[in-house]
């Protein structure tokens, strides 16, 4: 567990939005290469803020961010690190701005210096891997909610990052799309950090859980310490899964 195995290393991070209240205060968090971690916390506890900070979109007011063992100081550092960390936004509508799916997925590779032909090939291959073949000429804006989430994931995977960070990948999605995302995530060989309100989803995709409270992250348990209990459930004909 040397420092070189740490992909994300946050030390004593504090942050408040201009209009006041502290969102993060004295937060520290480490994520190893190959780890699959879930993050749970109430609304407004600062999960999205934290992810944006890891991407270099929001600078911390205090503390140090080290990614892949290097301390991040400037926008230039982050420009490099973004090649290796991909973030899927909470809301796919915020992530997709090109007219067609193909253009959206090719956007990242183009920025990384791929030629138009190459970017196109990468995009098509990524779509194929996510079983989205045939979507390339669809208008991103008109996709259904679940399809948008999958395309948003494709736009990030097209850049082949070593670390995949996802902000509530399943909110508002039905069980089928949920299952599809679970199975995609479980075939990926990447370091994962997933924010979600859904215990169930996290239990199926990650190995460790973290919680967020009072501006800090705390370790909440391994998958092995999961416990089970009764819960109420709609029966009838509505299809649902028993785990």
């Amino acid at each position: 567990m040397g420092a070189d195995r740490l992909v994300i290393d946050l030390e004593n991070i504090s942050f408040a939005y201009p209009d006041g209240r502290d969102v993060l205060s004295g937060l520290s968090f480490k994520l190893d290469k190959g780890a699959r971690a879930g993050l749970i916390g109430p609304n407004g506890s600062g999960k999205t803020t934290l992810l944006h900070m890891i991407m270099g979109l929001i600078p911390p007011s205090e503390g140090a961010i080290r990614l892949f063992g290097r301390e991040m100081r400037s926008e230039k550092d982050f420009h490099e690190s973004r090649k290796n960390i991909g973030l899927v936004f909470q809301n796919p509508d915020d992530q997709l701005f090109s007219p067609t799916v193909l253009e959206d997925v090719a956007f990242g590779p183009l920025n990384l210096g791929a030629g138009p032909e190459e970017a196109r090939d990468i995009a098509l291959k990524t779509l194929k891997d996510l079983h989205l073949t045939g979507f390339e000429d669809r208008i991103s804006y008109r996709l259904s909610g679940g399809e948008k989430k999958l395309v948003a994931l494709a736009t990030v995977l097209a850049m082949d990052p070593a670390v995949l960070v996802m902000d509530e990948p399943t909110t508002g999605l039905d069980e089928k799309t949920n299952d599809r995302i679970v199975s995609i995530l479980n075939t990926l060989d990447k370091t994962l950090l997933i924010v979600s309100h859904e215990y169930n989803f996290l239990a199926r995709t990650t190995n460790d859980f973290y919680g967020m409270r009072d501006g800090r992250i705390f370790y909440a348990g391994e998958s092995a310490t999961l416990h089970t209990h009764y819960h109420a459930h709609a029966a009838g004909e509505v299809p649902h899964k028993h785990i």
Partner: protein, 252 residues
């Protein structure tokens, strides 16, 4: 990020009746805009500074707002004195600056700054919503007031949407430059803003219809004219008459 920097404060000006502030700002701006004499222009700047003082706004932020106006004023300074025919005042190489040109530039500088300062003190000190209600009470057409309020309500939503799109581009390693890829990306983001704005407008209209909207707008807000409002009206009335006097009184 958008914010209403000056709107929320506590000062004699913040407490004035918004209708009065709008009317005063209008009168002051119009009067100052048509001034031609220096004593009057200086007095206008003085009045504006008094208003800024009374509004207790952070000096540094007020100055940073002035920078924008003065950028344009600077542009005029860079061209006008050197091209205005008249009595030579300065020479730099082949360029000759005339007194008349310099005089005109100086006058513009004073007037621009006075008007903007008064605008900051009197109008930027109220939230746009309050301005909307004040304009409603000043008999502006309902449609225009509603358009203003609707625009105001959604600029923050849409600005957040834009920030998110810009972030989405950044996390995918987008680096703006002078090239087609960059302009295309911005054009797509702008196009997306318009499309989402339009779709949102449709949903908002549906939400209005669901709550019984049938084309009529109402205003809940009432304003009260207080004694301090009378005091300020008289003081400003007299000042504006003095300002007019400095401009139009025959020179003795």
């Amino acid at each position: 990020m958008l914010s209403e920097t000056f709107a929320f404060g506590d000062s004699p000006i913040h407490r004035l009746d918004p209708r009065l502030r709008v009317v005063l700002a209008g009168l002051f701006s119009i009067l100052t805009a048509i001034l031609n004499r220096f004593p009057a222009a200086f007095f206008a700047v003085f009045l504006a500074l008094v208003l800024i003082g009374a509004s207790r706004l952070p000096v540094r932020q007020v100055l940073s707002r002035l920078a924008v106006v003065n950028g344009l004023v600077l542009f005029i300074w860079l061209v006008l004195p050197w091209t205005f025919e008249g009595t030579p005042a300065v020479e730099i190489g082949p360029l000759v600056g005339s007194w008349e040109g310099i005089r005109l530039c100086a006058l513009i500088t004073l007037k621009s700054n006075a008007i903007i300062l008064a605008l900051i003190a009197l109008v930027a000190t109220m939230p746009v919503a309050t301005l909307g209600y004040a304009l409603h009470h000043l008999r502006l057409p309902d449609k225009l007031v509603y358009l203003l309020l609707m625009t105001y309500r959604y600029i923050f939503v849409i600005e957040t949407e834009y920030q998110q799109l810009a972030r989405a581009a950044r996390i995918r390693c987008f680096k703006p430059g002078t090239n087609l890829h960059t302009y295309k990306t911005y054009a797509y983001m702008v196009g997306m803003l318009f499309v989402r704005a339009s779709a949102r407008a449709q949903r908002v209209h549906q939400a209005m219809v669901c709550r019984g909207f049938s084309g009529k707008f109402y205003c809940l807000h009432e304003f009260a004219f207080k004694s301090s409002d009378w005091a300020w009206s008289s003081a400003m009335g007299i000042s504006l008459i003095v300002l007019g006097g400095l401009e139009w009184a025959p020179i003795v």
